[in-house]
């Protein structure tokens, strides 16, 4: 691995031909105390348990799943705010999973994060100019004299008035704050942005504005995105590829159209069938909805074998004993299920 790496001026090593970002069987187990008489025994919350993911330059990959499935933990692993307990995170072919803070510095510049909550992710006591300028200064990207003009340039790129650089976050609305967060991420000229629910906290009309902004940035700057959201419509709109997570694992991953039109994992099918569709008022016939029984099991003690089996209508004995691997079932579409198949008539049956 070290033999054929090249080192760029920025100090970033890379393996020629390697994908931009690769997660290889990444695990993140958090230590926790049990309850009651178990209090002395340490337990492990398996927040992320063996995630494989590949992001190529300029590509957008969506990460969907319900709360507690590990999507946000994955975001924090990619940006190395967390150190994984196992597995490799390769950036341009070089493993950054256990790098020291000092070694990571140049990589931090290229992998940026946008947060969900535009209210708590901006320091209320710093002006917008300081917030965006800090990124420039930390990475030594512009000379001190050029800092203000670069900040203003960035504010303009994200659709804010450049004259507002000396205002504080509370003077902006939620949508505008999210734009400040985006400007801060762009300041470092990243190659990849991890966006963790960037539009979930915004109203519908503002959400569409921010989505269009992100889309323009992607088209103009060629930045790759890992886009995390629970809104399946938003993800479909923005992403080339989509990965569905359940209880710390990727259960299905594939090109957008394949995943939305021919989902093969029972969980993906259930998830898609549950989304309320406004199309019904415009004459789209209503689809049957799959009703899942029970709740998501605890990540402290996940089911053996396939993690979805406790709620799955296809579950057989093999599901409890053998963990299904994420294998290719259709071109570029990988599914982790022993009984993967495109949706059958009974699921998509339309009511007459």
């Amino acid at each position: 691995m070290t033999a054929d790496t090249t080192t760029a001026k920025s100090g970033i090593r890379s393996v020629p031909g390697a994908p931009l970002l690769e997660l290889d069987n990444v695990k993140m187990h958090f230590k926790t105390k049990g309850e009651g008489f178990l209090a002395r025994r340490t337990q492990w919350v398996q927040a992320v348990d063996g995630v494989d993911l590949t992001v190529r330059p300029g590509e957008t990959i969506g990460l969907v799943g319900e709360s507690g499935c590990g999507k946000s933990t994955t975001a924090r692993l990619i940006t190395r705010l967390l150190e994984p307990t196992a597995g490799e995170i390769r950036y341009q072919g070089v493993d950054i999973a256990h790098m020291s803070e000092r070694q990571l510095r140049p990589y931090r510049r290229e992998i940026q994060l946008i947060f969900q909550d535009p209210y708590s992710s901006l320091n209320p006591r710093h002006t917008v100019g300081t917030i965006v300028g800090t990124a420039l200064r930390t990475h030594g990207l512009v000379a001190k004299s050029g800092e203000l003009s670069r900040v203003q340039e960035l504010l303009e790129v994200v659709g804010l008035n450049p004259e507002h650089y000396n205002r504080y976050p509370h003077e902006f609305s939620g949508g505008q704050r999210q734009r400040i967060g985006i400007a801060r991420a762009l300041a470092a000229r990243p190659k990849i942005i991890v966006a963790d629910e960037p539009v979930s906290a915004l109203d519908v009309s503002i959400q569409a504005q921010v989505m269009n902004l992100l889309e323009n940035l992607r088209a103009e700057l060629g930045i790759a995105f890992v886009f995390i959201a629970h809104d399946l419509g938003v993800v479909r709109h923005f992403c080339d590829r989509v990965a569905v997570m359940y209880l710390g694992r990727v259960v299905e991953e594939g090109p957008r159209d394949a995943l939305y039109e021919k989902p093969q994992h029972p969980y993906t099918q259930a998830l898609l069938s549950a989304v309320p569709d406004i199309g019904v008022v415009r004459g789209v016939p209503p689809k049957n909805r799959i009703r899942l029984v029970g709740d998501v099991p605890s990540p402290v003690d996940p089911p053996s074998g396939c993690r979805f089996r406790t709620r799955c209508w296809k579950a057989q004995d093999i599901c409890a004993t053998e963990d299904p691997a994420l294998i290719e079932r259709a071109p570029a579409q990988r599914v982790a299920c022993h009984f993967a198949e495109p949706p059958t008539e009974s699921i998509l049956a339309e009511t007459a």
Binding site: D203, R282, R289
Partner: protein, 362 residues
């Protein structure tokens, strides 16, 4: 493995709602105004809102944050502090006037005839009391019964909202419930006194889609059983399409469009409603670029003159004589269809929608 393992998923057929016969209104709101005097000036949260909901019908109130949808619904339950809020107009529930009702009467009314489900079950349930305790308290406030009877009632209600093993669950605390289960428990608490009016304020916004689907089913089922009038507050138009009979779109404290769901979502007449539809990515077909509404909703401290939507409206140039900036349009029927109303000066909005807006919907 349980009996669910049959190889076929358990599915629910989504049936389009059958509109209930037009009955006498159970909830009738007339010219409601809610204002909050603040240090910065008067916040006009709700200005002249009127609507009605008969029993067995569901009205969805839709709007962005700050449009007044929650404030107006809290007024229906008499939840505003009268030292802080100025409320005028009339709210009649089953013939009784709620505006100006005494605290004592409100106590009997709230949780009895009318109940509310809140968005966040985590913060609306008391962490120190068991779920059963909280349901029993609500029941015993309105019914003179022993604790034992009340507990049986609580267990019965938990069972009805689909909580497995209610006899054990009734003695558990909120933190022992998952998010979806907590929301079910709150629905059980709201329905324990058979309310005729149920107000659900974003009841599924904090939930995952699969859980949301279960809760929406539950609310529809319970409405059928109890025959209540439901006011459903949400910002998710997909949810509205699924659960509501009628829809009221709010903007800056006023209703801007009102009518049956399939009409309003199928062919809306107000440019704001058009903008909303153009902002939602579709779940089928080739993704189309979104056309968001420019700008952001106005501050309720300084609501724009004339039509409150005019600063963001792309059609205001088509209306003669600066009406949009000076004259507040009335909420009246704008087409031959008298069953729906909208608040916009634009001429022949149905034709504009069909020829200009419909083709670019996502």
């Amino acid at each position: 493995m349980s009996d669910q393992t049959t190889g076929v998923p358990h599915t629910v057929t989504r049936v389009p709602r059958e509109a209930a016969a037009n009955e006498e209104a159970y909830l009738e709101v007339t010219d409601l105004q809610v204002q909050f005097p603040t240090a910065d000036g008067l916040v006009r949260a709700v200005q002249g809102l009127s609507y009605s909901v008969p029993l067995r019908r569901t009205l969805a109130i839709v709007g962005e944050s700050g449009s007044g949808k929650s404030v107006s619904s809290m007024a229906v339950l008499g939840l505003h502090d009268r030292k802080v809020a100025r409320i005028s107009g009339s709210i009649k529930v089953g013939g009784r006037e709620v505006v100006g009702m005494s605290d004592k009467d409100l106590e009997g009314y709230r949780g009895g005839d009318a109940a509310m489900i809140f968005q966040d079950p985590q913060s609306s349930l008391h962490p120190y009391f068991t779920i059963g305790n909280q349901i029993m308290e609500s029941y015993r406030t309105h019914n003179n019964v022993s604790k034992k009877v009340a507990k049986e009632r609580a267990i019965d209600m938990l069972g009805r909202v689909g909580i497995p093993n209610p006899r054990r669950r009734v003695d558990q605390y909120p933190h022992e419930f998952s998010g979806g289960m907590r929301q079910r428990a709150m629905i059980a608490m709201a329905l324990v006194n058979d309310p005729k009016l149920l107000i659900a304020d974003e009841p599924t916004t904090a939930l995952d889609v699969t859980v949301q689907a279960q809760i929406l089913d539950l609310i529809s089922d319970l409405q059928r059983d109890f025959g209540s009038a439901v006011v459903f507050i949400t910002h998710d138009l997909g949810v509205v399409a699924e659960i509501a009979d009628d829809i009221l779109v709010m903007y800056a404290g006023t209703a801007i469009e009102h009518g049956p769901v399939n009409k309003i979502l199928g062919e809306p007449l107000h440019p704001y409603a058009w903008g909303l539809l153009e902002s939602i990515p579709a779940l089928t077909g080739e993704p189309q670029p979104l056309h968001p509404i420019p700008g952001s909703p106005p501050s309720l401290l300084a609501v724009p003159s004339g039509c409150p939507f005019h600063p963001r409206c792309e059609f205001k140039d088509r209306v003669p004589d600066d009406w949009c900036t000076t004259l507040r349009p009335d909420l009246i029927p704008r087409t031959a269809d008298l069953g729906r109303t909208s608040r916009c000066h634009l001429k022949e909005p149905d034709k504009v929608f069909e020829t200009e807006v419909l083709p670019r919907l996502p």
